[in-house]
């Protein structure tokens, strides 16, 4: 019996933490792009800089992709859980 509430809690908890991650990600991205240029502009202006920049860029794209996929799944899980609860309530009534 305690399985379902536990599942719901987990789903919505995870959904919220992923939402937090979605808020933090742009800040991290901005820092990762800004700090090296303020810190060592001469060393990130040429070939090494290009590698760093495009590597970071690709990593960001992958991170957003993974995050959005996880968020969509968490949304679906939360929805399923709440629907299951609603159905249970229907049966109870």
């Amino acid at each position: 019996m305690p399985d379902r509430p536990l599942f719901l809690e987990r789903a919505s908890f995870r959904r919220r933490r992923l939402g937090d991650a979605a808020r933090v990600l742009p800040v991290l991205a901005a820092l990762a792009i800004l700090v090296p240029v303020w810190w060592i502009p001469a060393r990130v202006s040429f070939a090494a800089g290009a590698v760093w920049l495009f590597g970071l860029w690709a990593a960001l794209i992958a991170a957003v992709w993974a995050l959005h996929r996880a968020l969509r799944r968490a949304d679906a899980a939360t929805l399923r859980a709440s629907q299951a609860i609603a159905q249970d309530d229907d049966h109870a009534l």
């Binding site: 939402g19 979605a22 800004l34 303020w38 690709a58």
Partner: protein, 884 residues
């Protein structure tokens, strides 16, 4: 490649675009929007961000400033990493309000003020015109590359004729597919689909060129990196942190604030869910578009003459290498980039110009008495858009002709970016901060606009010059930081010290909390007012659409016909749908003028809040009622359980009674039968007669007890209340009980002084209880020698308690609860010789006397406590009888 073939190919491509747009519009009008609404199409349409500035200018930018070009694409990437909570929210709120442009969004948020929208439109037009000119220039430049064989002296303004043809063609396309209808939502499937296709073309073209440059001209990525590293002595390539930061901010702002970006990102979005895909796919598109920029720039510098225009490397590199088909593909890519940007930008600007300049002006000039306004507003709005499209295109072309083209594409793009970035603080503030108000928006946008005009725009067109700055400070970065900082400070300061009007407060609540807006109306309910509204809606949408909307609203209210009641919900929906066609401010003003809506006041706001509060209270009340019902149901269930248990008890009781009555009855019958035998000795006869007599006595006692118990239980026992002394009662009880098992001699432990307590009670009944308890002790106490302890204590509130304790083995814990039940006999019945009703009767007597009898555990034997009240309660009917 011959120039004629190029023109022919180009015309074929244009024809393809027209065909695609036409097919998509047809599909949409037939309701087949599934693939048109696909997130991939949406993501590709976002690529209007990559205009000709990106396609040609990025390489030129990179060859001058190295990696700095990437800021223009990294800014949007950072914004899109926050797509899930930032852009989704923007799109949701904008869709909720049927926002048609960024000017409309700002105006709707700040109290549906058309003047604010007109002001934002002004900024957009000023910022965008040179940008449109830039696209025309890039197209004509790319034609020139093919028209002339020389790589170096391509005239900047030589292609005026080409630019004119391009502008005319684009105007035609835009008018055809951009002003087809005045839908309630400003979506253009044909245009968006054509743009998506163009996005694919320009990406493929650029990637093909990049692959050719890296693996064809250079020797793979490692060689390319080596060539980039060899530029290390170029001071122009060293990144400047201030410019880097400023450009990131500005490009991040541009992705939402540029009119064309707002159009594709927000207005053309069916819902906010597609941002889940676009969130990573659009940065990936930008990544792909940027990946080969630096290699192309480096190879162009190394392979082409030093005075070749870097903005045209993408064309001249393949052309010079003899790759004519690649050059043609690249040309088509650049053409796509330029045309898609011009089309969307023109649509966005035309919407803003017609909704915020022309329509309000027209409505203001032709204000007539309400109701009898036969003009077709819809036709006017569409024509206004067509005129606006032509004007924007014409002004762009004129600008290009007048300035003779700019030498670098990048600078003009940045002028547009920085201009629209001035709108961003008001927009973000309006979405996140309920306190933001219209004066703050005016002040912020105004200050930013003036600073931008003075420090960036006018110098860019050669009027005035930026203020002198100390060495080492970059003028552009300084202007960006200064204008945005002053903008934000003014916005915040005036918002803090200002007081928004009620409409603004309602809108602020709706935007910040992303809840449905409420339109308050003091109109009386009734259909008589709906007709002028229908007439007005017909003027905007056309008769069919207006009737359909009104009928569906009426049906929603459960009414037949076409005239719904003027409920707040209906008015809200009508205004928002109208806003989707003509902007929030105009829609608001029109509904007010037709429906005679009075100015919204603070008290109306309070009323709206009251309504919400009432709805909340109603919900609360219902919840309470539900809880109450649940409670009652639980009580009923408990009562039912108790009744069932009682029924079981009753059955058991009847069974017990039958059994108890049957045992003596059986022996009476048996012995009377024996008495009837003739030759029975006298002694036997006597003995049997005695048995019969005894059994009959037992029966009588049992029936007496039962009667007694039933009288007591029904609460109708006659009590004779008198004062009594407990000491005397205990004396009498002890002597009466000594008849039980007289052979056992009990030592009785008493404290006579404590026993002199006077009580008011029914002495006989109390005596009955005492005898019963003491008799029980005599019967069951199995200790040797047996001791009976009697303690009397006066209660604080009057009354007394009597403890009767023996030193036997007592009653085991499990059965203590049972001993007061009827027929609950411990040990074997023969030994006790009673029916097991004694303690049950005691309990009923004590209850009738207002006291109680309980078993005291843990006293070293069986122990009972009899509690007496100060006086017994007077039953109601007894009181009646007393008075009578």
């Amino acid at each position: 490649m011959p120039f004629e073939a190029l023109v022919a190919g180009c015309l074929a491509y244009v024809a393809l675009m027209f065909g695609v747009a036409f097919a998509a519009d047809r599909a949409a009008s037939q309701g087949r929007v599934r693939w048109l609404d696909h997130p991939v199409v949406y993501t590709l349409s976002l690529s209007v961000y990559c205009s000709a500035w990106t396609f040609y200018g990025a390489v030129g930018y990179a060859s001058r400033s190295g990696l700095e070009f990437a800021t223009i694409y990294l800014g949007p990437t950072v914004v899109f990493t926050g797509a899930w909570w930032g852009l989704r929210r923007l799109v949701r709120v904008a869709r909720m309000h049927h926002v048609t442009s960024i000017a409309d969004l700002i105006s709707a948020r700040f109290g549906k003020s058309n003047r604010l929208a007109a002001f934002v439109t002004l900024i957009a037009v000023i910022a965008a015109t040179p940008y449109v000119a830039l696209q025309l220039q890039s197209v004509s430049l790319s034609f020139e590359v093919f028209a002339t064989d020389s790589l170096t002296d391509i005239p900047l303004a030589g292609g005026g004729g080409t630019a004119l043809w391009v502008a005319a063609g684009l105007a035609l396309f835009t008018i055809l597919f951009g002003t087809r209808n005045l839908a309630a939502d400003e979506r253009h499937h044909g245009v968006v689909t054509a743009i998506a296709l163009e996005a694919v073309v320009k990406l493929l073209a650029f990637l093909a060129l990049g692959v050719f440059v890296v693996w064809g001209l250079a020797d793979g990525p490692a060689d390319m990196l080596g060539r980039i590293a060899s530029r290390a002595q170029d001071q122009g390539w060293i990144l400047k942190p201030d410019r880097w930061t400023a450009l990131l901010i500005v490009s991040g702002a541009a992705i939402v604030a540029l009119p064309r970006m707002f159009q594709v990102l927000v207005v053309e979005a069916a819902d906010e869910d597609r941002l889940g895909t676009a969130g990573w796919a659009f940065p990936a598109y930008l990544f792909a578009m940027s990946l080969f920029v630096l290699p192309i720039a480096v190879m162009g510098q190394q392979l082409l003459p030093a005075d070749a225009n870097p903005d045209l490397y993408v064309l001249t590199l393949p052309a010079q290498s003899g790759q004519n088909w690649l050059a043609f593909l690249v040309f088509l890519g650049g053409f796509s980039a330029a045309t898609s940007m011009v089309v969307v930008c023109t649509i966005a600007l035309a919407t803003m110009i017609s909704n915020h300049w022309l329509v309000p002006l027209w409505l203001g000039l032709r204000r007539k008495p309400q109701g009898d306004d036969p003009e077709d507003l819809r036709g006017f709005v569409l024509n206004a858009r067509r005129v606006a499209i032509l004007s924007v295109m014409a002004v762009g072309w004129l600008y290009y002709q007048a300035t003779g083209g700019t030498t670098t594409l990048a600078s003009m793009g940045l002028v547009a970016f920085t201009g629209m970035a001035q709108v961003l603080p008001a927009m973000i503030g309006g979405l996140l901060w309920r306190g933001a108000n219209r004066n703050g928006a005016y002040a912020g946008v105004g200050c930013g606009f003036l600073l931008w005009l003075a420090m960036i725009f006018l110098p860019s067109v050669g009027i005035g010059s930026p203020p002198p700055l100390p060495a080492g400070v970059d003028p552009l970065a300084f202007a960006i930081f200064l204008s945005l900082t002053v903008n934000m400070l003014a916005f915040i300061a005036l918002s803090i010290f200002g007081m928004p009007d009620p409409v603004e407060r309602l809108q602020g609540l709706s935007f910040v909390s992303a809840v449905d807006p409420i339109r308050h109306s003091r109109l009386a309910r009734g259909a008589d007012q709906a007709e002028p509204l229908l007439v007005m809606a017909r003027r905007v949408w056309g008769a069919e659409d207006a009737l359909r909307f009104f009928r569906s609203e009426a049906a929603f209210q459960g009414k037949s016909g076409y005239l719904p009641d003027l409920t707040p919900r209906f008015l809200t929906r009508l205004e928002r749908r109208l806003a989707g066609s003509i902007g929030a401010a105009t829609a608001h003003a029109m509904i007010d003028s037709v429906a005679g809506g009075a100015e919204l006041t603070v008290s109306d706001l309070m009323e709206v809040a009251d309504e919400a509060q009432r709805a909340k209270e109603e919900t609360q009340r219902l919840e309470n009622a539900t809880a109450e019902l649940a409670r009652t149901a639980r009580q009923l269930r408990e009562a039912n359980d108790k009744l069932t248990a009682l029924s079981v008890q009753k059955d058991a009781f009847l069974g017990q009674i039958s059994h108890e009555l049957r045992t003596p009855m059986t022996s009476v019958r048996a012995f009377s039968d024996i008495l009837r035998t003739p030759d029975l000795s006298e002694a036997d006869r006597d003995r049997f007669a005695k048995i019969i007599y005894d059994e009959a006595g037992r029966l009588t006692r049992l029936l007496d007890d039962l009667l007694d118990l039933s009288v007591l239980e029904s609460g109708q026992a006659q009590l004779s209340i008198t004062p009594a002394n407990l000491h005397d009662l205990i004396e009498r009880a002890l002597s009466a009980a000594s008849a039980t098992r007289p052979e056992r001699v009990f030592r009785v432990d008493r404290e006579p002084l404590d026993e002199y307590v006077a009580v008011i009670t029914d002495a006989d009944r109390l005596l009955q209880v005492l005898i019963n308890v003491i008799g029980n002790a005599r019967k069951y106490c199995d200790a040797e020698p047996p001791v009976l302890t009697i303690r009397v204590r006066r209660n604080l509130r009057g009354g007394a308690q009597i403890d009767i304790i023996d030193n036997g083995s007592g009653i085991e814990a499990g059965r203590q609860a049972l001993i007061f039940e009827k027929f609950a006999r411990l040990n074997d019945p023969a030994r006790a010789g009673g029916a097991g009703l004694g303690l049950a009767i005691c309990r009923e007597i004590m209850a009738n006397l207002g006291g109680e009898i309980t078993y005291l555990p843990g006293q070293g034997g069986a122990a009972f406590r009899i509690v007496l009240p100060r006086r017994p309660p007077v039953p109601v009917d007894a009181a009646h009888r007393l008075r009578a």
